[in-house]
């Protein structure tokens, strides 16, 4: 039996008459990075807020570490670190003082530990700087520091890379992967940046209009990505005519874009097609076997569902 750190059954949230989260049944396995992918307004933040008890569900059940958090909230939530959207800290206080407040209330204040966490997120030189003077990227880093400071077993991170520069994104990505794979921390991370989720997640949950459409492991995802062959040719009209003579249908079996033809069916015959083009006097400049990227898959997946 799989060990789920997060499990929800038909979790829903209705604001007025608007169902922003609709019967979400989510399964996050221990030690995995689960990427929640969806457009803005898909219901990712609301789902995370319900998991963190910041928002109350209209219906459905939540199980964290296999337990109902309503019955043992302190024991469960103390094992969770989180960031929901832009982190919130006291603007008149420094990075160190903000973390001190959190650590003191948690009952595990240790000055050395706070300094080492600040170092981990590259804020050691800004520990005495007031939060109001932080850049957005620094705020995100401090949020991550606060989330991991108490060595949680589960991290719930809502758009944690917002505002980070490419170097910052890479550092945080490496840090999260390390936390998951070396320390066994389970991570639920949401983003609307598809490449980021593709980079980091072991399992991806696709969300749209409040519905969790499907949960797919990265291995399954790659087997489900559409593959196609891309021909770059000197005479596109002639190449299209050859395909038509072979009874291949435009926009179904192949598409045309500039000097390129993308073939979606009969991929195993690509060498034969290449031969036919050459025999017809067409210069074939490029033949690529391509795989649909996550963005294309997501667009197709959401529109199909």
């Amino acid at each position: 039996m799989l060990d789920y750190v997060i499990e929800t059954n038909n979790l829903s949230k209705i604001y007025s008459k608007n169902k922003v989260v609709d019967s979400v049944s989510m399964h996050v396995e221990r030690g995995k990075i689960y990427g929640l992918l969806g457009k803005n307004g898909a219901g990712k933040t609301t789902t995370m807020c319900m998991l963190l008890n910041l928002t109350y569900p209209s219906s459905g059940d939540i199980y964290l570490f296999g337990k109902n958090p309503k019955k043992n909230s302190d024991g469960i939530y103390s094992k969770i670190g989180s960031i929901i959207e832009t982190p919130g800290f006291y603007e008149n206080l420094t990075a160190y003082e903000n973390l001190k407040i959190i650590a003191k209330i948690r009952g595990n204040y240790d000055s050395f530990h706070i300094n080492s966490v600040l170092k981990m997120v590259n804020l050691e030189n800004a520990k005495s700087k007031k939060y109001k003077d932080f850049s957005l990227g620094m705020k995100q880093r401090l949020g991550i520091a606060a989330a991991i400071m108490h060595s949680p077993e589960l991290l719930i991170l809502d758009e944690p890379i917002n505002g980070l520069d490419p170097f910052g994104i890479k550092e945080i990505r490496t840090l999260l992967k390390r936390l998951a794979h070396e320390f066994g921390i389970t991570i639920l991370i949401s983003s609307h940046i598809l490449s980021e989720i593709e980079n980091i997640a072991d399992v991806i949950g696709f969300m749209d209009e409040g519905v969790l459409i499907e949960e797919i492991s990265k291995e399954d995802l790659h087997s489900r990505l559409n593959k196609f062959v891309e021909f770059e040719v000197s005479d596109i009209d002639l190449a299209v005519n050859i395909f038509r003579e072979l009874e291949l249908k435009e926009n179904e079996d192949f598409t045309v874009c500039g000097n390129e033809i993308c073939l979606y069916t009969h991929l195993q015959l690509r060498d034969k097609f290449n031969e036919l083009f050459v025999k017809a006097g067409i210069d074939v400049r490029k033949v690529n076997l391509c795989e649909e990227n996550l963005e294309e898959f997501f667009t197709r997946f959401v529109s199909n569902n």
């Binding site: 928002t55 959207e85 407040i101």
Partner: protein, 241 residues
Amino acid sequence: MLTFIEMEFLKLKRSKIFLLSIIGAILPPLLMFIAVTAFDEGQTFQMLFENVNMYMSAMFAVLLFAIIISYLFGREYNEHTLKTMLTIPISRGKFLMSKYIMFLVWIVILTVVTMLSATLFGFIAGLEGFTMELFAGSFAQLLYANVLLFLTFSPFVFVSLFITNMVPAMVGGAGLSLVNLMIYGQNWAPFVPWVCPYLIASGEIAEYTTSIMVSYGVILATFVIGLAISYIYFTKKDVQI
């Protein structure tokens, strides 16, 4: 709970509002000092303390406390720290109570500041009649009035949770100060929660036909109702992200 209070103090570090509230607590003694020196009013410490206590707890404290309570609760929403605090985790009830207790501690500090500054201004103005007994009695009276006033501020907790910026609190506080001014001396003053703390503490309640217990009842009812609606609202409402 002590850790919570300690952390509430840390949250006030470099905070302008704390300094402003201290200046606010000095304002009634300062005005009385000006009145004494410029208009030759109140030539003794007793008169100075009586006037300071009246203007502070019956009028100015209402506005000052409204601003403080609004800041204490509202900043958690405005600086988006509520989601950080509640996911530590802290129970919502404990969070609410720690803030309300911090409000009491803040009031006690302001009471001390008011009395000390009144004494200082009295000496600068060359007033006569200062005794430790008078000081202690006046301090006890102001502290008692302010603590009773603290109890009547629980509805403001709800207002601060419901409308998180400080403008409604400032308008409400200023409005209540004016209402207090209009009601003070009227027959039904002992029934108004924000007037009776001063009437009880100063002993002026004896001049009214209404029993002192009625005024205590009004204060207690305001406290319980305000706290109950604040607690229900805060624990049942989703945190706005």
